[in-house]
């Protein structure tokens, strides 16, 4: 039966090529816009490539300290002394590391050509939370971080820039005029992994006076994603521990924030602040989705209704021969779904084009960065494109299909539906 519907739907599409084209284009456009948002969201949150543990990674990016006597407060990134002894020995997370990223001037020892490179200072667990392929050398361990040895790991492209094909491991480089030894080279990763990406990595302890610098972020990786409440409890305990030893001070860390929440809230100094931002961001997406779905749905409804009008006789005949209401309903919806799916496929492909062209805006990565294939095509994406198609189909063909199924046989046979 569905095969027949399918044949009929294709025949109808062919019969009125102009209107079919308009319907498919309208659907494709809507799907393109919606999928561009969904896919770029998915790229920001999916656990793959260099960040395979996003689903169980939590961040503590900022803190706020209130002075209850002066009634003043200070917000900013976490200072080292509010990390060490408070957040440094959390029990629940499997791995944890602090990290900071900044641009630094780097050159090869004895050469005058200076490059600006993104440097990440990290602890040893960084290499376990994120996934890198080492071309040469190995990540540093606890010992190196303890001793603060000046070792650096370079990305492949940074190595090319600095050494131009010569052997790099074992050589010396100057990072902001401080000598470091290159101990490893890793394969480049895409900049969509913005938590892991950098050009070179050094142990955070290798910086002089590292205790006096702030920490951009504390990254915690749980054994599994049900540990969040337990980690949260530990972090709140750390706050209490700090408050107990500092009179008139109330410290609150922002987080632990889930990866997806952190992407939505961006810079926020407190959890309440972040919650508001997340709520607003969710409402915004909901509103945008609504506009993106409703406008084409109204459009297509109008078209479908006109089309239904022309098929009044056919539906009348089918009903006269005993077709039930729901059969007509399902048939109309099914026929329309074929248009929707056709539009969906075109729309999805177009959305990839849009993301590729506008990655700077949609993903916040430089124009020349690449996006791995498995970030674009994944089960959640494919599932959501089908879902969006079905939803758009229901919205756009629901009313026409219902009307068609309710037609009075006599009226439709005499073409008198007014």
């Amino acid at each position: 039966m569905y095969k027949l519907y399918f044949k009929q739907a294709i025949a109808m599409l062919k019969q009125n090529k102009f209107i079919s084209l308009i319907a498919i284009l309208g659907t494709a456009l809507a799907i393109m816009m919606i999928m561009a948002i969904i896919v770029s969201d998915n790229i920001k949150t999916i656990s793959i490539g260099a960040e395979p543990n996003r689903y169980r990674t939590y961040y503590i990016p900022t803190m706020m300290e209130r002075d209850t006597v002066q009634n003043s407060w200070m917000t900013g990134t976490i200072s080292y002394d509010r990390y060490q002894g408070y957040l440094s020995d959390l029990q629940t997370p499997e791995y944890s590391t602090i990290m900071s990223r900044s641009e630094q001037l780097v050159c090869r020892e004895g050469e005058s050509e200076i490059h600006t490179l993104k440097r990440r200072t990290t602890g040893e667990d960084y290499w376990k939370i994120y996934s890198f392929r080492f071309i040469e050398g190995a990540p540093w361990g606890e010992e190196e971080v303890q001793s603060g040895v000046k070792h650096a790991i370079l990305s492949e492209s940074a190595t090319r820039k600095l050494f131009k094909g010569e052997k790099a491991v074992g050589q010396m480089i100057l990072i902001n005029f401080v000598p470091y030894r290159v101990t490893g080279i890793v394969e480049d990763i895409s900049e969509i992994f913005n938590m892991a990406h950098a050009d070179l990595w050094i142990p955070y302890t290798s910086i002089d006076n590292y205790q006096s610098w702030g920490v951009d972020m504390l990254v915690l990786m749980a054994k599994n994603n049900s540990d969040l409440p337990e980690i949260d409890r530990e972090v709140r305990q750390a706050e209490k521990k700090y408050d107990a030893s500092h009179a008139n001070k109330v410290l609150s860390y922002r987080g632990p924030a889930k990866h997806s929440d952190y992407q939505l809230s961006g810079w926020a100094s407190t959890n309440e602040d972040a919650a508001v931002k997340i709520r607003v961001a969710r409402r915004k997406s909901l509103f945008i989705f609504l506009v993106l779905l409703l406008v084409p749905a109204i459009n297509l409804s109008g078209l479908s209704l006109s089309r239904m009008k022309r098929r009044t006789e056919e539906i009348g005949v089918r009903k006269a021969f005993g077709a039930k209401r729901h059969v007509i309903l399902i048939q109309v919806l099914f026929e329309n779904l074929i248009t929707s799916l056709l539009g969906g496929v075109v729309g999805l492909l177009l959305s990839y084009g849009v993301i590729y062209q506008m990655k700077h805006w949609l993903l916040g990565v430089p124009e020349d960065s690449y996006i791995p294939f498995n970030a674009l095509v994944s089960w959640p994406v494919l599932l959501s494109v089908v879902l969006v198609c079905v939803l758009l189909n229901l919205l756009s063909a629901g009313i026409p299909a219902y009307r068609a199924s309710c037609m009075n046989i006599v009226n439709s046979l005499t073409q008198n539906d007014k």
């Binding site: 209107i19 506009v291 406008v295």
Partner: protein, 444 residues
């Protein structure tokens, strides 16, 4: 004619309902896009107060890992003098400025409260520390008085001020509870949203500014043109202090203005040729960046670029949709009304007449929709709906947009949609007017 068309619209009300609903939704969204775009365009049209064409920031970095003793021994001021001498010798460099929290787009600003003398009114102002060449680098115009001379005067207390859009300082009664505010010497006052009165103080009536913290008086020697931090920020009153010797170092903001013809590849050329000369131990040349490119970063960071991109995207989307919707609906309508059109032509209506009727139908539909939409928009604008869902909203107060903006929004949106609709309806009408009357009538 209009009554006739209205009758036709009423007869086709079922199909027209969809089009009207779509028009209403699209009209509302485009209305707010238009509102925001007007804000952007108007803001862009107003001068920044700083001229940033052909200006570059020179960033110097300091070597890390120095001993505290070495650190103390650095003579920052003489390094600065050497720096200025060497940079000025470079061909094309017109002027070099040193400043702290002053230059636009360098993401550093400070503000504070000053007391105006003789009125003793507390005013909130931007605070900038600058060398005298700052005004040359950014081509800030002197409106009254003179510019202080930095080299001789670096320790003196002379300051220069700038006002808001009217060239006044602003203050609120909130900050001046203990000051009796007389009507004399005050400019116009306006009510702000919060309800506390924002009042204005004429700059020329102020003799000096008094800093409560430092317990010091700063005579005003000059007034310069109003400035804003970026095109979409408000004009704020500001105070320019001379950048003191003790505050001047190669860590300050350093901006150079170059002649237009030296602008080509300036950063690369300058970096290459000056790297050696600007190796002023412990400082070294880190980078040279044009302020235009820094402006781009700031606007992207503040979300303006993203907002504009979203507006372009959603406008394009809606326009294409309304285009497809109208083409589709009228195409069907023309098909369904072949007999009617045939009759009209056989009764002596010209093709133009038929076309005109369909065009009129479209415009009238849009007008009916716009009437409903405008009421929705005006009501939404009164609420916090846009803020609640995080959509960009025009800051009407800041730019002085009033009710006339609603009229502009209406006409711009209406004409924009009208053009799109007429383009869309053109293809079906062409088909309609080609109906051969005999054929159409025979179909019956």
């Amino acid at each position: 004619m209009i009554r006739h068309i209205l009758k036709i619209i009423w007869n086709e009300r079922k199909a027209n309902g969809w089009i009207i609903v779509e028009f209403i939704v699209v009209f509302c969204v485009l209305w707010f896009c238009c509102d925001y775009m007007s804000f952007i365009v108007k803001s862009n049209h107003e001068p920044l107060g700083f001229d940033i064409d052909h200006t570059y920031e020179i960033r110097m970095s300091k070597k890390t890992g120095m001993e505290p003793k070495e650190e103390e021994a650095i003579d920052h001021y003489s390094l600065v003098q050497t720096f200025i001498r060497r940079v000025k010798q470079y061909p094309g460099v017109e002027s070099v400025s040193f400043s702290n929290s002053a230059a636009p787009y360098l993401r550093s600003s400070s503000s504070g409260t000053m007391v105006s003398l003789p009125d003793s009114i507390h005013v909130q102002t931007r605070i900038r520390y600058v060398s005298s060449e700052f005004f040359d680098v950014f081509k800030i115009k002197l409106e009254q008085g003179r510019i202080f001379n930095w080299e001789d005067n670096a320790e003196s207390k002379n300051v220069i001020v700038s006002g808001n859009r009217n060239g006044h300082f602003e203050y609120t009664a909130e900050n001046n509870k203990n000051v009796e505010v007389s009507g004399k010497g005050k400019g116009s006052s306006e009510r702000t949203e919060a309800g506390d009165k924002k009042q204005e103080l004429e700059l020329s009536k102020i003799r000096a500014l008094y800093n409560d913290h430092m317990k010091e008086e700063y005579p005003i020697v000059g007034i310069v043109n109003p400035t804003k931090e970026d095109p979409y920020a408000p004009y704020l009153g500001g105070v320019y202090y001379p950048l003191g010797r003790d505050r001047t170092s190669l860590n300050s903001q350093i901006v150079v203005r170059i002649t237009p013809h030296a602008d080509k590849d300036f950063p690369e050329r300058f970096t290459r040729e000056m790297r050696q000369q600007l190796n002023l131990d412990p400082y070294f040349l880190a980078s040279v960046v044009s302020l235009q490119s820094l402006k781009k970063d700031v606007l992207a960071y503040s979300g303006i670029t993203g907002n504009l991109n979203s507006i372009y995207a959603i406008t394009t989307f809606l326009v294409i949709n309304i285009f497809l919707g109208i083409i589709g609906t009228f195409w069907y309508r023309v098909q369904a009304r072949r007999n009617e059109i045939g009759t009209r032509i056989s009764m002596g209506a010209t093709r133009k007449d038929v076309q005109r009727m369909l065009f009129g139908e479209t415009l009238l539909l849009l007008f009916i929709a716009s009437f409903v939409a405008v009421n929705i928009c005006l009501n939404i604008a009164q609420t916090d709906f846009l803020e609640a869902i995080g959509l960009p909203k025009a800051n009407r107060e800041q730019i002085g947009m009033g009710i006339e903006q609603d009229v502009i929004n209406y006409f711009v949106t209406y004409f924009f949609l009208a053009i799109i609709s007429l383009l869309a309806v053109w293809y079906p009408t062409r088909q309609a007017s080609r109906v051969a009357p005999a054929e159409a009538l025979r179909e019956e």
